[in-house]
C-alpha cells in the first residue's frame, strides 16, 4: 500500500488510472453485452451483403438496375425488405424466366444460403419487412377457426375457400396455396407480391397471420383429411358437375348398355 500511495503523485499516474478505467469499462462491456457475437455477426452481415451484391449483379441487375433502383423491366427493390426477396426467390418466381402476365411459381434456382445473401443485400438498400422467424409463422398456438374466418374475409375472394387458387383478369391469377411453405405464406402476407395486396402488421397482426397460416396448414396441406373421399381438386361445383357427368352418368349409361344387351332368351326362330 505504501508504495502505491507514495507513487500516486507520479506524473504517469493519471495515464495509468485512465488505462485502468478503460480496461474496466471495456471488460465489463465485453462481459455483459453480447458484444462478441454482435461483432462476429457484423462481419458476417457485411460479408453477406457483399456476396449478395455479387449475386444480384449477375442474376437480377438486368431488370432491377445495378443498384436495385429499378428499370422499365422491373420495379425498384429499395425498401422491399428481406421477406420479399426470400419469398420471390425461394418460391422460384424470381429470377423471371420471361415477361408475362405474372411470374409463376417454379423450382428455386438459388440455394437458401444464396437467397439469404441476396436478401441481406436488398435489405441493406432500405428498411422493409424482414424474413419472419420460425416462431412467427409456425402454426403452434394459433386459433384455426379464427384463421379460417380471416382467410374467408381477406383471401378467399382470389384464392378460393381453402386456397386452391383462382383467376384474375388478363391471365393473372391467385395461385393455389397447396404445399406452400408456411414461411412463404407469411412473407406473402407481409409483402404483397405481384397482384396481391400486402397485409402489414398494422393491418393484420402477427397473431392473425399465424392464425391464417395455421388454417391453411389444416385445410390445405398434406395433413389435410378429406372425410368425404376424393377432393376433386376442391374447386366446387364445376369439377363436381364434370365428375357427375363423366363418371356418374357415364357409368350408368355403360350399365344401361350392358343391361339392354342382355335381353331375355326368347325363342329366336
Amino acid at each position: 500500500m505504501k508504495k502505491l500511495s507514495a507513487r500516486r503523485r507520479h506524473p504517469l499516474a493519471a495515464v495509468v488510472v485512465l488505462l485502468f478505467a478503460l480496461a474496466v469499462t471495456g471488460g465489463l462491456y465485453a462481459a455483459f453485452a453480447p458484444a462478441e457475437s454482435a461483432k462476429a455477426d457484423d462481419t458476417a452481415q457485411s460479408l453477406a451483403i457483399e456476396e449478395g451484391k455479387k449475386l444480384y449483379s449477375v442474376g437480377c441487375a438486368s431488370c432491377h438496375g445495378t443498384g436495385g433502383q429499378g428499370t422499365s423491366d422491373g420495379p425498384s427493390l429499395v425498401g422491399v425488405g428481406s421477406a420479399a426477396v426470400d419469398f420471390q426467390v425461394a418460391t422460384g418466381r424470381m429470377p423471371l424466366q420471361q415477361q408475362g402476365a405474372q411470374a409463376p411459381r417454379k423450382k428455386a434456382i438459388y440455394t437458401q444460403a444464396e437467397i439469404d445473401q441476396l436478401a441481406a443485400y436488398i435489405a441493406s438498400l432500405g428498411a422493409g419487412p424482414s424474413v419472419p422467424t420460425k416462431n412467427q409463422y409456425s402454426p403452434d398456438g394459433a386459433d384455426i377457426a379464427k384463421g379460417g374466418e380471416l382467410f374467408r374475409t381477406n383471401c378467399a375472394q382470389c384464392h378460393n375457400f381453402v386456397g386452391k387458387g383462382g383467376a384474375l383478369s388478363n391471365g393473372k391469377y391467385a395461385p393455389s396455396l397447396e404445399g406452400v411453405n408456411p414461411k412463404h405464406i407469411y412473407e406473402a402476407m407481409q409483402t404483397g407480391p405481384q397482384n396481391m395486396p400486402s397485409f402489414p402488421d398494422t393491418t393484420m397482426s402477427e397473431q392473425n397471420k399465424k392464425d391464417v397460416v395455421a388454417y391453411l396448414d389444416t385445410v390445405n396441406s398434406d395433413k389435410t383429411k378429406s372425410p368425404g373421399g376424393l377432393e376433386l381438386g376442391g374447386l366446387g361445383p364445376v369439377s363436381e358437375g364434370l365428375f357427375a357427368w363423366v363418371f356418374g352418368l357415364g357409368a350408368l349409361i355403360a350399365v344401361a348398355i350392358w343391361v339392354a344387351a342382355h335381353t331375355a332368351k326368347a325363342k329366336k326362330s
Binding site: 377457426a145 377432393e231 366446387g236 361445383p237 357427375a244 356418374g248
Partner: protein
C-alpha cells in the same frame, strides 16, 4: 295349406288377389298392363336412370330431414370438426356439419343425395336429348314432352333450393346472386326480394322458406308430373327404332312382366349401387371446408351446380350495362341474362310445336327417326346444345383460365361471340354431316358393305369386294320417310281469280322448304335403282 280343404279352397295368393280385386279392380288393370310390350334399347333406359335417381333422392332426403334444422338462429359450434370450434354459424349450417360428422352414416347419405341430384338432372338432360334427336316428341307425345321439360326445369329449382339450405358460404353466395337477379327486375324487383327474404337480404327467413319449397312444394309437383309422365308412356306405348317387322302400329319387344320387371328392378339396384359407390368415393360440397355464410365474405370459384351453370355463364359474360330512366336504375347487365335464360330453355321446349306447324304433319308417329334422316331437326338440336355448352364454358370461365393458362378476358370474349356464332356454325356443319351420312346409307344400300377384300380380276384389274346387305339391313336403311315441303298455292285459282295468300302461310311454306326442300336430304335409294345396279353389275 296342408288341410283336406285343399281342393275346395283356392290357394292363399289367389284368395288375396281376389279380395283385392273385388275392392280395387286390379285384375283388369293388371291384365291390360302386365303384358305391355316394351322395346329394347339402351337409350330407352335413360328415363329409368332419372326415375331411380329421383327415388334415391327422396329416400335419402327423408333421412336428412330427420337431422337437419331449417333455422337461421345463430349458434356457436362445439362439434367434432376441430377447425370450426367456437365459430358462430346458423343452426342450418351447424346441423349440416353435424350430419356430416356426428350422425351415423350422415355424410354418406348427404353425398348420395347430392350426387344423385346431379346425376338426376344430367340424366333428364340426356333423356330429353334422346327424345329430341329421335323425334319421339311428335304426335301423340307433345304433352308428355312438355311434362318432361317441366320436370327438368322444376328439378333445376329443386336442386337450387336444396343447394342453398346448408347456409354455407358457397350457397349463400348463390342466394345472393339470386337476390341480385330478382332486384334487377324493373319496378317489382325490390318488392319481390323483400317479400321472399322477409326484409333485407339475408334476413332470417330464407332457409325455412327454401326448406318448405325444397322438401314439399317442388318435389310434390314433380312427383305428380312424374306419375303423369309414366301414365302417358303406358298410354301412348313406347316408341321404337325402325327395323324389320316394326311398324307404326305395333311394338316389338318384351313384356313388362316378367322380363321388364326383372330388368328394371335389377337396374334400380345397379343405379342405386353406382351412385352410392360414387358417394363413397368422392366428396361433394364439403361445407366444412367452405365455411358458414356471412354476407361480408365471398370466395372465388363460387359456381352453382352444373344445371345452373348456363345461367351463371350468361351473367358472367354479359357486359355490365346500366341505364337510368327518371331516377330509376335499370341493371341490364343482370336483367337481360335473366330474360335470355328462360328464352333459351323455351326454345327447345316449343320446338315440337314449331316443327309440326311448319311441316304440317298431323299424323301419329311411333317409329323413331334416325337423327341423320331429320337433318334440320338434328342441326337445330346441336345448335341449341352448342349455345348451352358455350354458356357452360362462360359459367366456369375462371377455372378454364387457371387450368388452361388462358386469360379470363379472352374466354369471356370467346363466349360472347361463340354464343351467337357457334350455334350457326354447328347448324350448318351438322346438316352437312347428316347429308353425308345419308349418302353413305344410300351407297351402302345400292353397292353393299365394303368388305375390305381386294380381288384381282383375270385381266389384272383390282376391285374391292362389296358384300350386299341383308334384307333386314336394307329395310332399316330405307324405312324412313322423306317428306315433301309445303307448296305455295298458285297465285290464281282454276277460275283465274287471284288468290290471297297470307303472310303466315308464306312464312310457313318458306320454313317448310328450309326443313324439307332442296338440299335438305339425299333422295333415298329406290327399289328400281337397287335392281338396276344389282342386276347390271353382278355381285362383285
Amino acid at each position: 295349406m296342408s288341410t283336406t280343404d285343399n281342393r275346395r279352397k283356392a290357394p292363399a295368393g289367389e284368395r288375396v288377389a281376389d279380395w283385392a280385386d273385388g275392392r280395387l279392380g286390379i285384375y283388369s288393370l293388371a291384365k291390360a298392363n302386365m303384358r305391355k310390350i316394351f322395346p329394347d334399347h339402351w337409350s330407352f333406359m335413360l328415363g329409368e336412370v332419372c326415375l331411380y335417381s329421383f327415388v334415391i333422392i327422396i329416400l335419402t332426403g327423408v333421412y336428412l330431414t330427420l337431422f337437419f334444422h331449417p333455422s337461421m338462429n345463430e349458434v356457436v359450434y362445439h362439434g367434432s370438426y376441430v377447425p370450426m370450434q367456437g365459430m358462430h354459424m346458423s343452426e342450418a349450417f351447424k346441423s349440416t356439419v353435424d350430419i356430416s360428422f356426428d350422425v351415423r352414416g350422415g355424410l354418406l347419405i348427404r353425398q348420395i343425395h347430392h350426387w344423385a341430384a346431379l346425376i338426376f338432372l344430367a340424366g333428364m338432360f340426356v333423356h330429353m336429348m334422346r327424345v329430341f334427336f329421335t323425334g319421339a316428341f311428335r304426335k301423340p307425345r307433345e304433352i308428355n314432352w312438355l311434362f318432361g321439360f317441366l320436370l327438368f326445369v322444376l328439378g333445376m329449382f329443386t336442386g337450387f333450393t336444396g343447394y342453398s339450405l346448408p347456409d354455407d358460404l358457397l350457397s349463400g353466395t348463390g342466394v345472393r346472386f339470386m337476390e341480385g337477379a330478382i332486384l334487377s327486375f324493373p319496378i317489382v324487383g325490390t318488392y319481390i326480394s323483400m317479400f321472399l327474404f322477409g326484409g333485407e337480404f339475408p334476413g332470417s327467413d330464407f332457409v325455412p322458406r327454401f326448406f318448405s319449397i325444397h322438401v314439399l312444394l317442388l318435389p310434390g309437383i314433380m312427383l305428380g308430373l312424374l306419375v303423369a309422365h309414366l301414365i302417358l308412356v303406358f298410354y301412348h306405348k313406347h316408341t321404337q327404332f325402325p327395323g324389320p317387322g316394326r311398324t307404326n302400329k305395333n311394338v316389338v319387344g318384351m313384356p313388362l312382366l316378367p322380363v321388364y320387371m326383372a330388368k328394371a328392378g335389377g337396374f334400380f339396384f345397379l343405379v342405386f349401387g353406382l351412385i352410392a359407390a360414387i358417394a363413397a368415393i368422392a366428396t361433394i360440397n364439403p361445407i366444412w371446408a367452405i365455411g358458414p355464410y356471412r354476407p361480408d365474405q365471398v370466395s372465388t370459384g363460387a359456381q352453382p351446380d352444373w344445371y345452373m351453370g348456363f345461367a351463371e355463364g350468361l351473367i358472367r359474360v354479359m357486359p355490365g350495362w346500366e341505364i337510368n330512366v327518371a331516377g330509376h336504375t335499370f341493371v341490364l347487365g343482370v336483367f337481360i341474362p335473366m330474360m335470355i335464360f328462360p328464352l333459351v330453355l323455351a326454345a327447345i321446349a316449343v320446338y315440337p310445336f314449331i316443327e309440326s306447324w311448319v311441316t304440317g304433319d298431323k299424323r301419329e308417329h311411333h317409329l323413331l327417326d334416325r337423327p341423320r334422316n331429320a337433318p334440320t331437326r338434328t342441326a337445330f338440336g346441336v345448335a341449341w346444345l352448342t349455345a348451352y355448352m358455350v354458356m357452360m364454358i362462360g359459367g366456369g370461365n375462371d377455372l378454364w383460365a387457371t387450368h388452361f393458362h388462358l386469360s379470363i378476358n379472352a374466354i369471356t370474349w370467346f363466349v360472347r361471340i361463340g354464343f351467337f356464332v357457334g350455334p350457326v356454325l354447328a347448324f350448318i356443319a351438322t346438316r352437312r354431316i347428316c347429308l353425308g351420312l345419308q349418302r353413305r346409307d344410300k351407297d351402302k344400300v345400292l353397292h353393299g358393305r365394303e368388305s375390305g377384300i381386294i380381288k384381282r380380276l383375270p385381266h389384272g384389274e383390282f376391285v374391292e369386294v362389296h358384300e350386299p346387305l341383308s334384307q333386314e339391313q336394307l329395310h332399316t336403311l330405307t324405312a324412313h320417310e322423306q317428306p315433301k315441303p309445303l307448296e305455295l298455292e298458285p297465285e290464281v285459282d282454276e277460275n283465274g281469280v287471284a288468290r290471297k295468300v297470307g303472310a303466315t302461310r308464306k312464312l310457313r311454306v318458306k320454313l317448310s322448304k328450309g326443313f324439307y326442300g332442296e338440299g335438305t336430304h339425299i333422295p333415298k335409294a329406290t327399289a328400281e335403282e337397287y335392281h338396276e345396279i344389282t342386276s347390271g353389275h353382278g355381285h362383285h
